[in-house]
């Protein structure tokens, strides 16, 4: 009887130690590494990285950003429509692309106009200083000096969800287009597909 009690108590203590030892405190890791949490239903940071990298490479290689007259195209970031069943911030993608375009030196991006109004409202606000006695009018930005965009970058993210038994699957389709605003023609288009699958545990807590 006593032996049984000792075994029972030891098992309980061992389990408690095991369970408390399972957790870990917060830590930093390299965002470019393959670490990080992957979930089936959501777009994780790695998915954004993969998509941005593939689309930027494709866009830059296509030559669609180059102009024959040597001037740099001005690209506005339009809307990346979220057609998934997750609340996502599509700016993670558009900001990455915007930075890559600027870094490439092939084109410039504008913050004065976007599908949802100006990304940086300052361009408009400073022009409202015209006639304001407080400011030296020679230094106030004049109307008619801002440069309108030549191209627009837009896209859509679509998600298809499927379940069968304990397995669930999400298929994300990222589609991006670059439109020549003069002609309305798409000068570049590409997509990235990401498929994820997970299986619910049969036995667990």
């Amino acid at each position: 009887m006593k032996k049984q009690h000792i075994i029972l108590a030891s098992t309980a203590v061992a389990t408690a130690i095991f369970l408390t030892a399972c957790g870990s405190g917060p830590s930093r890791f390299n965002a470019q590494s393959n670490r990080g949490i992957t979930t089936t239903d959501d777009i994780n940071f790695k998915d954004w990285q993969i998509t941005a990298e593939k689309t930027v490479n494709s866009m830059l290689k296509s030559g669609a950003l180059r102009r024959p007259d040597g001037r740099k195209n001005i690209v506005m970031i339009s809307t990346v429509k979220n057609s998934t069943s997750q609340h996502v911030n599509t700016q993670i993608l558009t900001n990455k692309i915007r930075q890559a375009i600027l870094r490439s030196g092939l084109a410039l991006t504008t913050t004065a106009v976007s599908a949802r109004g100006a990304e940086d409202k300052a361009s408009k606000q400073v022009r409202q200083l015209e006639g304001d006695e407080m400011f030296n009018q020679d230094t106030v930005q004049k109307q008619g000096t801002a440069i309108a965009p030549d191209m627009s970058l837009a896209g859509e993210i679509v998600q298809e969800k499927t379940r069968q038994g304990r397995t669930k699957q999400s298929y994300f389709f990222f589609h991006l287009t670059l439109t020549d605003l003069k002609t309305g023609l798409a000068v570049w288009e590409d997509n990235v597909e990401i498929a994820k699958q997970s299986k619910k545990a049969l036995i667990g807590w």
């Binding site: 979220n82 057609s83 998934t84 069943s85 997750q86 609340h87 998600q159 969800k161 379940r163 304990r166 619910k200 545990a201 049969l202 036995i203 667990g204 807590w205």
Partner: protein
């Protein structure tokens, strides 16, 4: 003897502490103060009560129920931020239940607790229709917070859930069937044990066909069948389908909106509003209009521009109440088992009338929540009631075994065992009446073009003290959703969600 007695007392105390008050006091009674405040239109009081209850129950098995009530009461009160928080939290908890391993310790523990007490020991996960409406309300809350993109996400989630409900339900019924069979086996083992102790042996198996011979069970089944006659197909809710169609119309996607309107037409071929919506959409995209609808004219205005959609959430959804089935069970004899049955509420408003540009527009019934909820209850009833009776029988036979053991020990142990088992059975003979009580009993719908003066007049009947409510629309909105909540003799809120 003393050791056994203290052990039994300890188990009893643990059960009472861990099963929570819903296991002893049914949820309908627990929510009475809240629902009285809500139904009388005292939203401030209801808001306060539900916030406290959510805090008190945040770690209990009833938390989802309280969060759903909280989300809707806060939505009706106009406290959208907190409404969204409550709905988000409820959704997270529901998803967490869905993601658990197929065989998991927590569910097994709850099942065991339920076998020893009653079904309220199992966490409330919401009816399937609750899950669909949760996302529909989240979508409206996002609209109220001026975030139509997030609202569209919620509408997509709502469609996803609607798609997988039927499959999930059949899986759930299969699981229930297995649990029932296991409980029946356990019961038979107990009855064999009793036979060995000298009591006359009888089979402890229970099935629904046998239970249907009981008048109360038969009536409950027939009543829910009658109520669900008006239902619209397997777990379909025309309100959520209509919300989905509105979502597509906002996106200028007539193709998908037409699919929703076609489904609405299939659900109810006599609804003049949805039939005409279907015809309008089908003609717009050049799809086939069924021959029987060819004479129906299209709406003479656009369905996705310069339009007001009005949702009238009328009355109260049915609420579960505790009743007793009187049965004669093997070994036990005559007994009363508490079980939940829906109570349906009268609606005081037949329709609402809105005036715009000197024209009047009346709402048309779209989704009868009585029928939708009754349909789900009706489908669940056979397994639910069989399980309840089996669980009761398990407890009874276990009590009999305990009494028999005590009898053999002598020294008054039998009397103590009788008292203890009697008290235990009395306390835990509670029905699982958990449900989302603040939902409306019916959704009605109407639409018309935005009036030139951008003002709507809600004409109220003599039932209401105010005779009319004026609704002013913004100057530049192209798409307006008006949500009107009507309770007994009261319009408690009118909300407008406007966007371009």
């Amino acid at each position: 003897m003393h050791k056994e007695f203290f052990k039994a007392c300890f188990i009893f105390t643990v059960l009472v502490v861990f099963c929570g008050c819903t296991s002893i006091i049914d949820s309908r009674k627990q929510k009475r103060e809240l629902t009285d405040a809500y139904k009388s239109g005292d939203l401030q009081k209801a808001h306060q009560i539900v916030s406290e209850e959510c805090e008190d129950h945040k770690n209990s098995g009833d938390s989802i129920m309280w969060l759903l009530e909280s989300g809707l009461i806060k939505f009706d009160s106009g406290d959208y931020e907190n409404s969204l928080k409550a709905f988000e939290h409820a959704e997270e908890k529901i998803n967490e239940h869905d993601e658990r391993a197929t065989i998991n310790a927590r569910n097994s523990g709850a099942e065991s607790g339920s076998a020893m007490t009653n079904p309220t020991a199992i966490p409330y996960k919401g009816l399937y229709c609750d899950r669909v409406l949760l996302n529909a309300y989240k979508a409206m809350t996002y609209l109220a917070l001026d975030n139509p993109d997030a609202a569209r996400v919620e509408l997509r989630r709502m469609r996803d859930i609607q798609k997988r409900i039927e499959r999930q339900f059949s899986d759930e019924i299969e699981r229930e069937r297995k649990t029932t069979n296991a409980a029946n086996r356990k019961n038979n083992a107990q009855t064999r044990k009793l036979s060995r102790m000298g009591r006359r042996g009888r089979s402890g198996s229970v099935n629904f066909n046998t239970l249907m011979k009981n008048r109360t069970v038969k009536k409950a089944y027939a009543d829910s069948a009658k109520k669900s006659e008006k239902a619209y197909g397997n777990f379909m809710n025309p309100f959520s389908t209509y919300m989905s169609a509105i979502g597509y119309l906002v996106e200028n996607n007539y193709n998908e909106a037409c699919v929703d309107f076609r489904n609405l037409y299939r659900m109810n071929k006599n609804n003049p509003l949805t039939t005409r919506d279907f015809v309008t959409c089908a003609r717009k995209i050049g799809a086939n209009v069924p021959p029987e609808l060819r004479k129906i004219p299209s709406w003479d205005y656009s369905l996705n521009d310069n339009i007001v959609f009005t949702i009238f959430a009328n009355g109260h959804a049915p609420a579960l109440k505790q009743t007793k089935i009187e049965l004669v069970l093997p070994y036990v004899g005559y007994t009363g088992i508490a079980f939940p049955q829906y109570e349906y509420f009268k609606r005081f408003f037949k329709k609402i009338v809105l005036s715009a540009d000197d024209k009047t527009h009346s709402s048309i019934p779209l989704a009868d929540m009585d029928a939708i909820i009754a349909q789900e209850y009706h489908k669940r009833l056979p397994t639910m009631i069989t399980r309840l009776v089996i669980s009761y029988l398990v407890k009874e036979t276990a009590s009999l075994v305990a009494v028999q053991v005590a009898k053999q020990q002598g020294g008054g142990a039998e009397l103590i065992a009788y008292g203890a088992t009697g008290l235990y059975k009395y306390l835990f003979n509670t029905a699982d009446t958990r449900c989302w009580e603040t939902l409306p009993g019916e959704y009605q719908m109407l639409h018309f073009p935005i009036p030139k003066d951008r003002q709507l007049k809600l004409n109220l009947s003599t039932l209401v003290s105010k005779k009319e409510i004026l609704i002013d629309l913004k100057k530049d909105s192209r798409f307006v959703i008006v949500y009107i909540r009507g309770l007994d003799r009261k319009i408690i809120s009118v909300k407008t969600f406007e966007f371009n």
